[in-house]
Subunit: 219 residues, 2 copies
């Protein structure tokens, strides 16, 4: 009984996710679902990313959070469409939330849409939002053994960003080992290593976005 209901919920989510994907494709919007544990650096990375990308791209952001608008407030300096979703304790964003948020964004005037998911390394893996790419931030401060422990999320990621590597020397961890562990779980994803607080380490990330945006535009 419980499993049956859960299946229905998931099928419905995935159907709406499919609708979202179609709408985004029609409007030629490149979309990214940013996932991670709490405090992994999603908002910090997004802040630096908007500073760079808004120079020559039309960007919109959907912020997911359990209760607060802290992450949206951290981005309010940017003159872009910015939608805050509060899940009221819910552990993930779902496709319907994104559909409703998209109703409030002029997709025709948007090139790149960032969706910052709830900080949770388990549940968001099961909910397709209709995004083009899932980007997983993995801070090395969590230890270099996490991929096999949270395998579902790592398997679904298109890009894994090993973050906070400037802190690695002060911890008993290795970004290289972390990358190897990611590879064991997901041999096909791309991997970047950076520190979201250090602008000079973000070139690879910006290049990845431009490459993927360009590929999407040619579809």
């Amino acid at each position: 009984m419980e499993i049956k209901v859960l299946k229905n919920v998931m099928m419905k989510n995935n159907a709406i996710g499919g609708d979202n994907r179609w709408r985004l494709k029609q409007s030629k919007v490149f979309s990214l679902n940013m996932v991670s544990s709490p405090g992994a650096g999603k908002t910090t990375l997004l802040k630096h990313t908007l500073g760079r990308l808004t120079r020559n791209h039309k960007v919109a952001v959907i912020e997911g959070d359990l209760y607060t608008s802290k992450d949206a407030l951290a981005l309010e300096q940017f003159d872009i469409p910015l939608i805050q979703i509060n899940t009221e304790g819910g552990c993930h964003l779902d496709a319907r939330m994104i559909s409703t948020a998209m109703d409030n964004i002029d997709l025709e005037s948007t090139e790149i849409l960032f969706i910052e998911n709830v900080g949770n390394l388990v549940c968001p893996a099961s909910f397709d939002l209709g995004e083009d790419k899932m980007v997983l931030l993995y801070p090395i401060t969590e230890g270099d053994d996490k991929p096999s422990k949270y395998a579902t999320m790592f398997q679904k990621a298109d890009l894994v960003i090993i973050n906070k590597v400037d802190i690695a020397p002060y911890l008993n961890v290795s970004p290289e080992k972390a990358a190897e562990e990611v590879r064991k779980i997901n041999p096909d994803c791309e991997i970047l290593t950076l520190s979201a607080t250090k602008m000079e380490t973000l070139d690879g990330w910006f290049e990845w976005i431009e490459k993927e945006f360009s590929l999407k535009s040619q579809e």
Copy 2:
């Protein structure tokens, strides 16, 4: 419909949690539910804690993890009852899992039971396992603004341990600010500040366990 089923599931969980609590009380076992984000240091703290407590207490451990036995293997040096629960992707431990695990532990020969939950700062908050105390590990490496963002978990915690404070000088974070943020969400919980990797910072934690174990024994 969906909400109704969820309520039933929660009621059933809480009923079994109540049974667990009764069994633990009958056997005079002091039990702790250790919760946190991924990579917060639960296993590291547990390892050092077992090294100390097994000298003069009979300790048992239930390890929760999505897929692997890594955390249990990290503790295999200790000659204690150690049960690994794999949730197979599930985002939290529930009371039935703990009930089954307890069937495999001689509770009459146990004084202190540690339950290490799945690394997730959202979902475990909703599932009473029957434990005496919920202990939340909050690594300062996640930033000092997390309590209001993950309020449900912080509200339920009896003890919040601000961990990895030895790394704070290398980050733009303040353990004092983190403690203030915890207080705003949960004025009644106790707060400890330590580094789970540094044995010399753990005295307050050991004293807290002894105090609570002693109080439980007098019930």
